[in-house]
């Protein structure tokens, strides 16, 4: 198995708080991997580091053979890493189509000159990005909503649109931060199908954070468990389910301790 992403010994401090320490994780190419752990374990912090919003104090991140720690987010999008956010962040006052079209930003080479004089390059690029965006929307099953403003979408579609946008960036590695938070069982199932199809049909590698264990266990091939800023377990879903450290982190100690954390 080839690794698309290799995080090794990453650590980050916020003042006196060691949010992550010695975190290592590999993501296999064309796989769905998951990152789980109790609240406050540092999952989103790790996502922020991988996607360039935070620079780690120590450690290395290698993406497709290239060291990427400390690169700004827009550069990482350019080289193929795209993410969604825990609390869905859409461009509220833009239409669904514009939201997706923006995903093609990096690939479009039109300059100010091309825009003002509406050159052939501009026309071709706009036409292509619009068609591509419509295709992505078709794939996500929301092509009918293309002219709706993002803020008017129902919650489930907002989440979907965010995912559609990451596809549009042409990313080879997609980071999904709690994609099915706040969804009901049916919606979760539909989203699971969509994510699987992104992985299988579009050949994208996916790393996701999720609290819904059934969702994670069904979908992902490998799971990494974080707790209090450290990796406490790594492996296939079945191994993780039976790992005593994981059970302890999620449910508390069985003997003597009495500490519980959800």
């Amino acid at each position: 198995m080839i690794n698309i992403l290799d995080v090794s010994n990453v650590g980050i401090r916020f003042g006196g708080l060691q949010a992550l320490k010695n975190v290592s994780l590999v993501v296999g190419k064309d796989r769905i991997s998951a990152l789980i752990g109790p609240n406050g374990a540092g999952k989103t912090t790790l996502f922020n580091i991988i996607s360039g919003f935070l620079t780690p104090n120590e450690g290395k991140i290698i993406y497709e053979g290239k060291e990427i720690q400390g690169m700004p987010p827009f550069k990482l999008t350019e080289i193929g890493i795209s993410r969604t956010f825990q609390n869905t962040r859409l461009l509220q006052d833009m239409t669904v189509l514009e939201n997706v079209q923006l995903g093609y930003h990096c690939k479009m080479k039109q300059a100010f000159y091309d825009v003002i004089f509406q050159t052939k390059k501009y026309n071709n690029e706009e036409k292509k990005s619009k068609n591509d965006a419509l295709e992505v929307l078709e794939f996500a099953g929301m092509v009918d909503l293309k002219d709706e403003f993002a803020k008017n979408l129902p919650y489930g579609y907002q989440k979907k649109l965010e995912i559609a946008r990451t596809i549009a960036t042409g990313a080879r590695l997609i980071l999904l931060d709690e994609p099915c938070a706040g969804m009901n069982t049916a919606e979760k199932e539909a989203l699971g199908v969509l994510i699987e199809s992104i992985n299988r049909d579009l050949k994208k590698t996916i790393l996701l954070i999720e609290h819904d264990m059934r969702f994670v266990m069904n979908l992902s091939k490998s799971i990494t468990v974080l707790n209090q800023g450290r990796v406490i377990a790594e492996g296939e879903p079945t191994e993780i389910q039976n790992n005593p450290y994981v059970i302890e982190a999620y449910l508390g100690r069985t003997k003597g301790g009495g500490q519980t954390s959800a």
């Binding site: 987010p73 006052d93 960036t169």
Partner: protein
Amino acid sequence: MKNLLCKNPIVLMAILWIVVPIFIHSNYFIHIMFMTTIYAILASSLNIAVGITGLPNLSHATFFGIGAYVAAIGSLNFNLPFYVTLFIGGFIAMVFGVILGIPTLRLKGFYLALVTIGFGQVIRIVELNWMSVTNGPMGLPGISGAVIGSYELSPKAFIYYGFVILLIVSIITKRLLKSKIGRALMAIKNDEVVANALGVDVTKFKVFAFIISSFFAGMAGTVYAHYVTFVSPDSFTAADSTTVLCMVILGGMGTILGPVIGAIVLTIAPEALRFADLYRVVFIGMVMVVSIIFKECNCAEVIISKTKNLFSRQSNRDEVSLHD
């Protein structure tokens, strides 16, 4: 034809600007029309920074003033004709835009607004005190008018001259909105973090918005300087910057026609309300408050949707997007 009018705010604007000056003869009205044109350029160019990109700039009149001073100095000291000062004025205002832009664009919202106010004050104090260049509070009189060969532009011709620039700003805005650049700017206004995550180099595009915005303000400044033939620091105060911002907000941020409508209303209203003396300020203040309360339905959108209903037979209840 009717469809063209509704769909294309620029055509509507062009008709207004070409037809109205034909029917006005009094110098007073010509002056008001000219000032409307200048304010429309200022509001439309400020709209690119504030309305589309969401960068609160409270020193737009300062860039306007820089353009005007460049025209004055160029014309008085170097005998440059108006079509040369036009570009130099725009360019130097743009340079100041970059100077202000690059270090401050990491700031957001109120903080950026505060810095721009400060910047406006600094430039004003320079204008007031750099006697050898700006002649301080006395200003620079005797700027040449706009002369091409033996023909000198009449005040009426100045309206058309200004309108050409307004037209260019509007067309640029319109084309930007439908491009990669426009989407990036709108994304920055909506959510910088997302823009960044989608591959937009946020700082670069913010500086770009500042550059375009200040360039056209500078150009408007040169037109103004050659028209009134006199510049002084009093013409470019923080109050003027606020007025321009009010025009953008009143008309509708991020739209093409909105800032122009805002400029028309807020230039003509104070003149039309002259009989009410000081009360007109109160009245205009009230208009601003009401327009902010109802900011969801900004002027431009309301007017466009109403006219659309007038023109089309079946009532159209769709929300009209001026982005098209």
